[in-house]
Symmetry: C2
Subunit: 337 residues, 2 copies
């Protein structure tokens, strides 16, 4: 991990008890950064205190990461405010990520994903304008791709509330760079998988659903023929990208689409998971009507800008990543299943 | 005015005490529609009870338009809720439009322009799903144009908070058409001028500033050489477009860029206003630094989709429109200056 630029520095990870956030926080802490996490502890969003237990250690968190349990937007609270104002680097991963939840409760999605982010950025630009901020956005803002692979110039056309609320927050980061010189950028992530992902329910995309069902020796349901392609990314590769984005001066004010050159169909992904787990089976079922309305077909991103500007390269094959994910889930099943 | 489709129908105009909203409400009421207005009475946003005084009548509003004084998002209030749920057609014009205000208070801008709109649309799709909704969006979401004229395919790149918050609301209208079949569309307006525009201060763009200064026999300040072009649109042409958008079946789920084929530089616009007023003068001044950061150069839109689908055509020249505007302002100066 490229943690050298963060040794001894104060790093804040918002959503740091969540899937990707906890992986970022642990990598930074292991590398010698002073890490604070702000996390609203919303179980449905993937927040899990067990996420801060380092690899190879099956005990409770060891205190190397300070945790502020609060909504990010609660900037009137002294501990939230202090954590934000004192941070040198902010990895801004807090958010609601379930597309279905965003349609069920658009106001809550807007509050968490946009209003809280506006509050954070207002505080940063007024009282901590020298901080670097890396915001994790999502490929979901592109909707159904007009062309593949999807680069940063691809038109935005959200197909769910989540895409709308995340895009607004992303754009505020870029605007505050443009207008106030804030050192902010945005990483639009593809489907991410790996250790510490929420597995209990169907709220974090298809990958954890597939993994859970395989581990339970259940059928993995693939809608239709499962021919839509995806570029899944192992979480360690994402963490590396976020660390590079926080330290590369040329990355300021930039958007990066971050995906994988390895592309697999949903059917291939399901088969690979069953193979890695040694359990479960793949079952093709008709499209449910409510999913059809928000389906986007194939998606894969063009990561060449991230490679060029950040010097980043994804290094984990899907087969390797899923094997590590399944080993992790088996070792810690009581906290994730 | 193409008001025939609205005769005897229940029409709601949000922001109906504001500049464009009041022109819509009066046109509908004069044409025989049952009109209700929801308006938060925020003076800075252009809300003015005098706006509902019909043309040729210098007395108080005559009650042909029912007014609910409330924030649009206050859907727990019975009167707000009733107005929304009982409307057959909703002209959705409420919002904060000042770019400078949106940068000064991003949270307020988000609350008014996005959160309240989310509340409105949730209520409509759940309890009044047959209503038609015409949302007025803004050219501001495009930022600095990459090419001219700007059509509906032009990439979105907001250069202020207002562009971000308006775009989120616009996208929710289109999403609810896509997912729930709501009869919603969005009209992205260029610079609009005409009777009932707020003139007291500098919050509604450059046109009312120019008109106010000319009427006061002051200098109209034009930044730099004033060569940036604009396609200004007289408010009656906008009202006609909104009425057509509410009744054309092919308009559902669509975005329309609505501007004018007549393009004038800021210098030419200032000159024309001084000519029409018979007072004031044009003064070229250096760019203020805080404006430079959010300037977009020339802008004019491509309205061919609106013309094709809606059968709309702008009919008022800038010279005619500004003459009528100035006559109106002189007749009612006590309510606007």
């Amino acid at each position: 991990m490229p943690v050298e630029p963060f040794v001894g520095r104060r790093c804040l990870v918002t959503g740091g008890l969540g899937f990707i956030g906890s992986n970022v926080a642990l990598a930074l802490a292991a590398g010698g950064a002073h890490v604070t996490v702000i996390d609203a502890r919303i179980d449905r969003h993937g927040s899990n205190p067990a996420n801060l237990v380092p690899d190879g250690d099956h005990h409770a968190p060891d205190g190397r990461v300070a945790v502020v349990e609060a909504d990010l937007g609660d900037v009137d609270r002294a501990d939230v405010r202090d954590a934000i104002v004192s941070a040198e680097v902010i990895f801004n991963l807090a958010g609601q990520v379930s597309h279905v939840d965003s349609m069920d409760d658009p106001l809550f999605d807007l509050s968490v994903n946009t209003t809280s982010q506006f509050r954070l950025l207002e505080l940063v630009r007024r009282e901590n304008p020298g901080a670097s901020v890396v915001y994790t956005s999502t490929r979901q803002i592109f909707g159904k791709p007009r062309y593949l692979p999807v680069d940063e110039e691809h038109p935005v056309a959200p197909v769910d509330v989540n895409g709308i609320t995340k895009y607004a927050a992303e754009q505020l980061h870029l605007l505050y760079h443009e207008v106030y010189g804030l050192r902010a950028n945005a990483i639009r992530l593809t489907n991410v998988f790996g250790p510490r992902q929420r597995l209990r329910d169907d709220l974090q995309g298809f990958l954890p659903i597939f993994v859970r069902r395989a581990l339970a020796d259940d059928a993995i349901q693939v809608f239709g023929k499962g021919e839509q392609e995806r570029d899944c990314l192992y979480v360690d590769d994402v963490v590396e990208c976020l660390l590079l984005a926080a330290s590369a001066p040329d990355a300021r004010g930039q958007i990066f689409n971050v995906g994988n050159d390895e592309r697999l169909s949903l059917g291939e992904i399901a088969d690979a998971i069953v193979r890695a787990a040694g359990r479960g089976r793949v079952e093709h079922v008709p499209w449910p009507a409510d999913r059809d309305a928000i389906d986007i077909g194939s998606y894969f991103g063009d990561s060449s800008k991230a490679k060029r500007v950040l010097g980043w390269e994804p290094r984990t094959s899907f087969a390797d990543g899923i094997a590590r994910t399944i080993a992790f889930c088996r070792a810690r099943h009581q906290w994730y299943l």
